[in-house]
């Protein structure tokens, strides 16, 4: 597997977290979308939804399976990706770019310590 982007951290449940000050962008890894197969539907919690690290922040539906999405920081959703809601296949075609899922205003680092860097993630899921 190609190494995922180095500017973010990765959870064991295959979400990437890109942290810029107190803003966190969350998405799914290439490995995750490859396992899911073609994504047909993504439903994220609405902007304003506040949560603790490890809570479910949404769900994606693929032809093969349904999967929960987790976020590893504490915070609240400020934006969901409307383009993905309209065209869920963006998750398959560009999971690290146009296929991002939510932007979160972080209130605490929560379980970020459980996440790993890109090289470690690639080694674990190569």
């Amino acid at each position: 597997m190609a190494t995922p982007p180095a500017d973010r951290v990765y959870s064991q449940s295959h979400e990437w977290h890109k942290i810029e000050d107190d803003m966190v962008t969350l998405g799914l890894t290439q490995f995750a979308v490859d396992q899911l197969t073609d994504v047909t539907y993504a439903e994220m919690k609405k902007p304003g939804f506040a949560f603790k690290a490890g809570d479910i922040v949404g769900e994606v539906e693929s032809v093969k399976t349904t999967s929960d999405i987790y976020c590893f920081v504490d915070g609240a959703i400020v934006e969901t990706n409307k383009a993905v809601a309209d065209d869920p296949s963006l998750l398959n075609s560009d999971p690290y770019g146009k296929g991002w899922l939510i932007k979160v205003k972080m209130s605490g680092k929560g379980k970020l310590g459980e996440c790993v860097d890109a090289a470690t993630y690639a080694k674990q899921h190569g």
Binding site: D38, T40, N92
Partner: protein, 383 residues
């Protein structure tokens, strides 16, 4: 993990390989962006043609003096009235009438058969076969049971373009009726070609010697350039195989079939001959007495098809409700690529969930509205 003789073919075509019953198999090939992926493969099979590696399935030869008698004991379906060159779908049951596996029986000659069994059940069925052979009511049966899974490979060519393509180099195969097969010699390679499949489309399944697989594939696909976007035939993985069979309303072991599921509940009554011991030629099969009892009162449940409203799919294990009461459970479900809506199969109480009824499905996270419909969900148009 076992590799099939088509492993290199899978990697050449960017197969996304997964462990399936101990076999390294392609779930799908490539990515949706480059024209691959599950949905594209599914539609390719519906519109034109797909090639599936099904070598992981077990192939077991049964031959000898009591081969037929043995298979009558093993299979829920009649064997004695099969002609040479015929194949038949059958169940293998336990004494309680639960389903051990669903299989295809090929009859090559009077006392010469091949069984195709599910990969995940191969070892179990081989053990069961030996037990049935040695514990027959009239004494041990004389037949040879040989597992040929590793010596052979198997591919399924499915879709409306397949039979016309084969017609370019064979007259006999396009003339085969459904569930008939021919043994063909291709140069030095002996092929078994049957008009069977697990997609709801016309097509064939081919059993061939493992060592000759590459050569045979080259011949079969000689006019096909799979790198082209509009190729007549493209590789298709286990993901598409599952969604295609679900649309076709075909049961899958571990979902609609299992040891704890009564064979008469599975919607495959055509494959259960409950007059087998009485027609003078057959034999009572394992599970016969139990299923006779079930048939007398009727099975408690039935397999139903559901069309689900909205974009959310119902998956195996979701609860089926009617008028607020639990009446059943979902066994398979997916967004249907052909229909553009979510479909599901499941077991429901016999008296409930009649065709046309409104029901609900509780996924554990939400309740979906659904309607009971007749299966198959999709039927290929007649050519």
């Amino acid at each position: 993990m076992q590799k099939t003789p088509l492993f290199d073919f899978h990697t050449q075509h960017k197969g996304h390989m997964v462990d399936f019953a101990g076999w390294n198999m392609p779930l799908y090939y490539g990515t949706p962006t480059e024209g691959g992926g599950l949905t594209n493969e599914h539609m390719q099979v519906r519109k034109s043609g797909g090639i599936f590696d099904v070598s992981h399935m077990g192939r077991v030869k049964v031959s000898g003096r009591h081969a037929r008698k043995f298979l009558e004991r093993l299979c829920t379906r009649k064997i004695h009235d099969m002609a040479a060159g015929q194949c038949r779908y059958s169940l293998v049951c336990n004494e309680q009438g639960g389903v051990k596996d669903d299989i295809i029986v090929y009859r090559y000659d009077d006392d010469d058969f091949m069984l195709v069994v599910n990969a995940s059940n191969r070892e179990k069925i081989l053990g069961h076969m030996e037990q049935v052979r040695t514990s027959a009511p009239g004494g041990e049966l004389v037949c040879k049971i040989v597992d040929q899974t590793m010596d052979t490979s198997m591919v399924a060519l499915q879709g409306p373009a397949i039979i016309p393509m084969i017609g370019k180099f064979s007259k006999e195969i396009p003339s085969l009726k459904k569930y008939r097969f021919a043994v063909k010699n291709l140069m030095i390679i002996k092929l078994t070609v049957s008009r069977t499949g697990y997609t709801g489309e016309d097509g064939v399944e081919v059993i061939l010697p493992a060592g000759m697989t590459g050569l045979a594939m080259k011949f079969l696909l000689q006019d096909v350039d799979m790198s082209k976007a509009d190729a007549m035939i493209k590789p298709a993985g286990l993901g598409a195989r599952d969604t295609l069979r679900t649309e076709a309303g075909m049961p899958l072991y571990g979902h609609e079939l299992g040891e704890e599921i009564n064979a008469l509940e599975c919607g495959v009554d055509f494959a259960i001959s409950l007059d087998k011991a009485e027609d003078g030629k057959g034999e009572a099969f394992v599970g016969y007495e139990a299923l006779k009892k079930t048939a007398a009162t009727g099975p408690a449940r039935k397999l139903v098809g559901l069309m689900i409203e909205g974009k959310r799919a119902a998956r195996q294990g979701a609860t089926i409700l009617q008028d607020g009461k639990t009446i059943g459970v979902v066994t398979s479900g997916c967004p249907s690529p052909t229909l553009g809506a979510c479909i599901a199969m499941g077991f429901a109480s016999r008296e409930r969930a009649n065709i046309g009824d409104a029901v609900e499905v509780d996924t554990g996270k939400g309740v979906l509205t659904a309607k009971v419909v007749a299966m198959p969900f999709y039927k290929a148009p007649k050519v």
